[in-house]
Structure formats: C-alpha cells, structure tokens
Amino acid sequence: MRSLIKFALFTCVVTLAVVAFAGDKGPDGKTLYKANCLVCHDKGSPNGEYTPMSLISDQWDAFFKTKLVPSHKDAVLPNSGDKKLLEILNPEELKVLHKFCVDHAADSEQPLTCG
C-alpha cells in the first residue's frame, strides 16, 4: 500500500515536472490544432466545423476526457500515409491541445477561430 502511495506521488511529481517542462517546449496548441484537428474540421467540413470557440470549456473538458477516444478511434489523418490520429498524438500533445481549446473556448476571454 505504502509503495503504491509512493508510486502515485512519484507519478504526480513526474507529471508536474512534465507539465512545467511542456509549458515552454514543444509545439504550440495552435499549430497542433491546425495540423491535427482543423484538417478535418475546417469551414464547411462534412465532419462539422470545430474551432476552439465552437464549444465552451466544460464541453472541451468532456470531449477530451470521454469523447475523443470513442469518436476518433478510427480517424485517419489525411495526407499522413494512413496514420491514425490517436497514435500520432502523444499525451503531452493531447494535453497542449486540451489546454489550447479551453484557453480559447467560447466562454474564455480570448475565443479563437484558429483561422
């Protein structure tokens, strides 16, 4: 039990470290969104038009927490040589995307179309 707690704590610390680290390194949310989301959700897309300001932050939280995996498990990125969206995006990138969507959601102070 004790070691389990230790492990949990350790994970937390590592997680936090990664969070802090990811803050200033790696691709930014806008670039990721354009490359991985807008490709299928641009204006007039049959999949529905989705930009960060299409949803409120609660809806983005729900999307990243529970909906993304079931609704995009078969999503294949166009022009990627048949790569699956969910295999391309690593956890840090998902985190950056999630934060980007929430920060620019319809009820944020800087709603963005990502145009």
């Binding site: 300001m53 985190k95 009820d107």
Partner: protein, 469 residues
C-alpha cells in the same frame, strides 16, 4: 498502457485546471433554453424597460452638466468626438481589407444591443434588441453575423451550440469588472486608446496598480462605485454628455466614501478643499497600455500588418495628467454650430468650466487629448468622418465628404483641417498612499502646477514664505 498514462495525466491536469474560479450557474432553475432576450423578458420586463431608457441604451439623455446644452438630450448618438467621431454614420457592418479580413464592425460593437439603432419609442422589438448578457453573463461573447435580411446583427458566438449557449446564459450575476471592461477598455479603437485610466488590466490587477480594484486591495467591482438604480449608472466624468443620475453625483469625497477630510495631516485636508483627491492620488495613467494623446485625421496612416488605414495616432505610456479648474460642468462643441475656439486657437471639444475665483471649482487631473478634425468652409461646422470605408481604402477626402453629405446635406464639401482640444477627467488607477504627490512635486522647482495658467501668478507657498521673511 500509453492510453492509461494519458488518461491519468489528463485527469490530473483537468482537476488542477478546474480548481480555479467557476462561474455560478445562478439561473439554472429559471429556464431551460436561452432563446435570446425574450427569455429574460418573461421575468424581467421591468428591468428591460428601465434599461431601454438609460444612457447606456439610448446614447442620449439629460445633460444638466453641459453648459450649452440648452435643454437638449445629449449623448454619443447626437454629438461628435475627436476619436471615432459620430456613431450614426458608422453604426454596423463588416468592412474588409484587401486580404478579405474583417477590420471593423461598427460602433454598435460598444452598444448593449444586438445591432438595431435605439429608437425613441419602446417596442417589443427594441426590448428584445437589448443584449442583457453583455453585462450579466460570465463568459459571454458575441460577434457580427449576417441577419438574413441583407444586414448585420450581433449574435452570441455560441448561437449554433445550444448546450454551450444555455450554460453561459445561466451564469447570471450583477456585472463584474470584466463585463464593464468589454466596452470601456477598448473604446477609441484600441486597448486603452480613449480613456487612458480604464485599462483592461483592471479586470485582474494588484493594489499597487489600483487600491480599489486590485484583487489584493479592496477588490471592488466597477458597480461598487457606479451602481445606481433601475439601470441608471452613477458618474459621468467630465467629457461625456448625457448623465444617467444627475441626482446622485459620484465623487471620492462624499460621506459614503472618504468624506472631505480623510488625512491625519491638516495641511492635506486643507489642500483638498481646492484640489480634487485624484490630483495627488493618481500621479500618472496609462501604466500598462499606451493611450491615444493625439489623433491627426488629416494624415492617413497605413498599418501593413493589419492591412488597415487609420488616422495618425500618437500613443503615450505613463502619462502625467494636466491640471485645470473644474466645477462639474463642461462646455461642448456640437455639430451644426460654428466652432468655438480657445485662446490657443484650437477648437474646444470638451472644456471643463471653472476658475480659481469660483468657489465650486477644484483643480482636477485630466488627460488632454488633441486631434485634427475637418471643419466645413463657410459654415464653420465640425464634420464627422465615415471611418468604415476609410479603414480599408485610406481615402480621407472621400470619408469627410461622405460624412458632410450625410450630416449637413452638402455635396462635394470644402473643408479645412483644424486642431482640437478635449479634457478628459482621470478618475481610476488610484495608487497606494506612498505614491501620492509630495509637497515638492507641486511646490518645487519644475513642479507639476502651471501656477500662472491656474490663476495664481506664482507658487502660493513661495508667496507665503517671502511674506514671512
């Protein structure tokens, strides 16, 4: 495993994010779906009717503080200023630059309505035009969309997302700072351009910046000072025309606030008899975003990044106010009346009345805004500018002529560019007492007071000292 990690990660992270302030869903029980203002009217008809008659909606109202108002109702709608001139000629529309990007949407962006001009007569259509959520819903945002009848309207950006819309429309509260700042910090065409002392940072700032609104200070909302009743706000400052609540003027020295003798030092209270509190307690303004100090409409300037034209605007940061006598009334330059020039030859757009000899006057702190505006030859009438087209094509001559035609029915107007002056009271950004002006800031060499201009001949302290010698 990778998934699991990702999931743990996201949960942790989401929990950390969600710990912040969450808006209260105060109206969850009151309605299911938000269908525009008519949803609110079911229960708040009286509040809407009150709002309809306010300065905030009509942009016209009683103007007892304008000495040359002659009983007219005044406001943005029928006056002119030296920033964006007059809203009637620039009300609503999507003007695009050569790249097809929207560069301006019209003055109605700062009107708490969905795009219709306010009418004198109260109709259902007008009540439904009021955009309550601008001042009452946390996280509300709107944008300009085609209205389906060839015109434009302001709609929530969530208009196609009913679930999101309903959530936002239920987060109702009295107005918070950010809601007021949605309009007041961006007036004049850019962040803090117009007022200088109503900056966007006031939404979340420190006591060091503003003792009243700083979150580690009194953390006051705008309405802590400005709340009137029945949708009338208190306070007009020195350079707005109409006044919502002339019966309840707003000032620092009323009994409900500080009274007129708040100091331990008698000499400071004595000074306060003739010097407004703001003079010593707001030593400078525009401390975060630079403010527009001079707007030359005669010289179009092209901004390549935005692909947009504007007037040539001189911005300044950390500006020291100018000081002038003021008794609460103002002289205003109107459209359709020959221009009134000051001693320095400039047209006085908004000039505080008062003098040393007038016992109701005190010295106040002002932002002095200068501009160059077109004046109709022969008539000497000041002309507004149809800014919309000008923003995209930079043709100022056309913009002046179009406005002269719309306002004075003159074809191919002949006009002359003239310098103007506007005094704008500085009332926000009160700094901690350690930053207040000290004796020598005014009485020292190169002090802030222009003693001659203020009617003293020379520094009264120096006079007193030499008398004692």
């Amino acid at each position: 495993m990778k998934r699991l990690f990702a999931f743990a990660f996201l949960t942790l992270w989401a929990a950390a994010c969600l710990a912040g302030d969450k808006p209260v869903s105060s109206h969850a029980q009151y309605f299911e779906h938000y269908e525009g203002t008519k949803t609110c009217l079911q229960c708040h008809r009286q509040d809407a009717e009150n709002f309809f008659h306010s300065q905030h909606y009509q942009w016209e109202g009683n103007a007892p503080n304008i000495v040359n108002a002659d009983g007219r109702k005044l406001g943005k709608m029928n006056t002119i200023n030296d920033f964006c001139t007059n809203p009637r000629v620039n009300w609503i529309g999507n003007v695009k630059n050569s790249r097809g990007e929207v560069i301006t949407k019209g003055c109605s962006a700062c009107h708490a309505g969905s795009g219709k001009l306010p009418s004198e007569k109260m109709t259902e259509d007008q009540l439904e035009n009021i955009d309550c959520l601008m001042c009452h819903a946390n996280g509300y945002r709107r944008d300009l969309y085609p209205d389906g009848k060839g015109g434009w309207e302001w709609k929530p950006i969530l208009w196609q997302n009913q679930v999101g819309m309903d959530s936002v429309a239920k987060r109702i509260s009295l107005p918070t700072r950010i809601m007021c700042l949605r309009c007041h910090s961006a007036s004049g065409g850019g962040a803090n351009y117009k007022r200088g002392d109503i900056e966007y940072v006031l939404s979340d700032t420190t006591r060091d910046y503003d003792v009243h609104m700083g979150t580690n200070g009194a953390n006051m909302q705008c309405i802590a000072c400005h709340k009137g009743q029945d949708h009338r706000v208190r306070g007009r400052g020195s350079d707005l025309s109409g006044t919502d609540m002339p019966s309840a003027p707003l000032s620092c020295s009323t009994k409900e606030c500080h009274g007129d003798a708040p100091h331990k030092l008698a000499v400071l209270d004595k000074h306060a008899e003739r010097i407004s509190c703001t003079v010593c307690h707001i030593p400078d303004f525009a401390r975060t975003d630079a403010t527009d100090m001079y707007r030359d409409w005669s010289k179009p300037a092209y901004n390549a990044e935005a692909d947009k034209y504007s007037a040539t605007i001189t911005l300044e940061k950390d500006v020291k106010p100018v000081y002038a006598w003021y008794n609460g009334t103002t002289r205003e330059q109107f459209m359709g009346e020959p221009v009134h020039k000051l001693a320095d030859g400039t047209i006085g757009m908004m000039i505080p009345m008062g003098s040393k000899a007038d016992p109701h006057s005190k010295i106040f702190a002002f932002k002095l805004h200068r501009a160059k505006m077109p004046v109709l030859d022969g008539k000497d009438y000041i002309i507004p500018i149809e800014v919309e087209e000008f923003f995209s094509n930079g043709n100022i001559d056309e913009a002046v002529k179009a406005a002269a035609k719309a306002t004075y029915h003159v074809d191919d107007a002949k006009y002359t560019w003239m310098p103007t002056t506007r005094y704008m009271g500085i009332f926000h950004g009160v700094q901690p007492k350690e930053k207040a002006l000290q004796c020598l800031d005014c009485h020292g060499k190169n002090g802030r007071m222009d003693w001659k201009a203020l009617g003293y001949g020379q520094d009264p302290l120096a006079v007193l000292m030499s008398a004692h010698k």
